[in-house]
């Protein structure tokens, strides 16, 4: 029982990371019908840049976090400019999928060459000894991850609802042409969504780095799982992503423990296919009405 609860806690922490990355997919998909297939790499870069700041340059973790976020913001804007904007111009779905993949590959390769192919240890800013919650162990870092993820998503929601710029973003999502008539520069909105999306990924990266091994390959699998979460929860629902993330996280930790660590990635794919087959818009998503 204690073990199960522990697995649940780890599952939640893991799931929240997936949720934050999936949240990033949502941000760009909502405004531009595109997403960044290299999102996992954005997370990886966040983690590695964070590592350099903290380990090599001796910057305090809590100071490094906003720096990493800024880095992620710029990186996202870069991806949009180079990879996505030209594809949107030529109206090619194929185009942005391939170019975001290509950029992801390039980032990963560059990271391999700068930081090496081995996984590195990220020093934990918090105490490493576990706490007891409801009788099971939880690492303080795991709690930080959960808190950080929720905070990040709430912050973005707040931005969307309370500030005029956030409302402009939602308006672009609702009706791009009408948003332009309001004087909103929709191109900039899309760039901004990408920047924000990479920011959240980089943030997730530096959050999760102390908990797992940090290396050039950490991003791809995470990005993939986040796909599963985005589909399971629904590419248009924020709540769905959190629920989906937690579901997947717990499914994975329990599979990993009770069946075998090798199989822990399987529930993701199975859930993904099931959801698509039964409720394509996701558990919480809304099906859009197409107009002819």
């Amino acid at each position: 029982m204690e073990i199960l609860l522990q697995l649940v806690y780890s599952g939640i922490a893991l799931g929240m990371i997936y949720a934050v990355i999936a949240f990033g997919y949502q941000l760009t998909f909502a405004t531009s019908d595109t997403l960044n297939f290299g999102q996992g790499e954005a997370l990886m870069l966040g983690a590695l840049v964070g590592l350099t700041l903290v380990d090599t340059m001796g910057v305090n973790y809590w100071v490094a976090v906003p720096i990493v976020c800024l880095f992620g913001f710029i990186q996202g804007a870069f991806v949009e400019r180079v990879g996505v904007r030209p594809a949107i111009k030529i109206k090619s779905e194929f185009g942005w999928i391939m170019s975001t993949i290509a950029l992801g590959i390039i980032f990963k390769n560059v990271a391999e060459n700068i930081w090496g192919r081995d996984d590195l240890r990220f020093p934990s800013p918090l105490d490493e000894s576990p706490l007891k919650v409801l009788g099971a162990n939880v690492l303080p870092m795991e709690l930080l991850v959960i808190a950080g993820a929720i905070l990040m998503m709430l912050a973005v929601e707040f931005f969307n609802r309370k500030t005029i710029y956030g409302k402009a973003v939602v308006a672009t999502f609702n009706d791009r042409d009408a948003a332009k008539l309001m004087g909103i520069n929709t191109g900039l909105v899309i760039t901004f969504s990408y920047a924000l999306s990479s920011l959240t990924a980089a943030f997730a990266g530096i959050l999760i780095a102390p908990l797992t091994l940090t290396g050039a390959t950490m991003g791809s699998v995470l990005g993939l799982k986040a796909f599963a979460v985005a589909i399971i929860g629904g590419l248009t629902s924020g709540l769905g992503i959190v629920v989906g993330g937690i579901l997947l996280g717990i499914a994975e930790t329990t599979t990993g423990f009770y069946i075998s660590t090798g199989y822990k990635d399987v529930p993701g794919l199975v859930l993904l296919l099931l959801v698509l087959a039964v409720r394509p818009a996701g558990l919480f998503g809304k099906t859009a009405i197409k107009k002819v």
Partner: protein, 240 residues
């Protein structure tokens, strides 16, 4: 205020507008009427930048705006209440109105007093006032149309383009809408009104242009056009 000269525009292969010229003097209401497919909405879209003209010039307050992006044109003070409502469905009425004032809130236009203007807009459209926190997508067709108009007013624009404000509205609501247009007119708002309902439009406007198959066939002071049989012919076909 708004001058259109020899405008040609269309979609892909279809050359809809064959060189039309319209003038909207400051403080006046000008209406563009014509049957469906004549090119009225195409004209509006070309003015506000939703489509790029093939040829011709459009000037707003003596500045050329043809070929610009719609967000740039909006910043220069042209508000467009588009055909088909196009409200932001997942946002509240209030938020929709605030977005109408986006350029004012972000420094592209003189700010003025946005909250006061918001209240004024709601006074003008009492149906919206009752529903200020309601999501725009749940409003009825008529209410959405009003929201689109109110949103355009929020820009504090030099010119408002009203594209078929009566479209899809029951007669009672149409009356309300035209009463509101009258009120705006009495406050000196410059408007270009595109309408299917020739009679109502000509009753409220100062000047009118009749569009048929992409060209202006008749134009003149609205009062004169009201009684012109050529106008009726343009709508219901030659046979009566």
């Amino acid at each position: 205020m708004l001058k259109i000269n020899n405008l040609h525009a269309g979609y892909g292969k279809v050359h809809v507008l064959q060189g039309i010229s319209i003038e909207v003097p400051k403080g006046k209401v000008v209406t563009l009427i014509g049957s469906n497919g004549a090119g009225k909405t195409t004209t509006m879209r070309a003015i506000s930048g939703m489509i790029k003209p093939l040829a011709g010039e459009i000037t707003l307050a003596n500045q050329r705006i043809d070929g610009m992006e719609s967000n740039e044109i909006a910043k220069r003070g042209l508000a467009h209440s588009p055909e088909g409502r196009r409200v932001f469905a997942t946002m509240t009425v209030t938020d929709n109105l605030l977005l109408g004032a986006f350029p004012r809130l972000t420094g592209s236009r003189p700010k003025g007093n946005v909250p006061a203007d918001l209240e004024r807009a709601l006074e003008l459209f009492p149906r919206l006032k009752e529903r200020r926190e309601q999501l725009a997508g749940t409003l009825s067709g008529g209410e959405q149309q009003m929201l689109a108009m109110a949103r355009a007013v929020m820009l504090n624009p030099e010119v408002i383009l009203l594209d078929e404000p009566s479209m899809g509205l029951a007669p009672i609501l149409v009356e309300e809408v035209f009463k509101i247009i009258s009120r705006l007119k009495s406050e000196g708002v410059t408007m270009l009104l595109v309408e299917q309902f020739a009679a109502a439009a000509l009753n409220v406007a100062d000047y009118g242009y009749v569009l048929e198959n992409g060209s202006i066939t008749v134009h003149g002071p609205a009062k004169d056009l009201l009684h012109d049989p050529a106008v009726a012919a343009a709508y219901l076909g030659g046979s009566h």
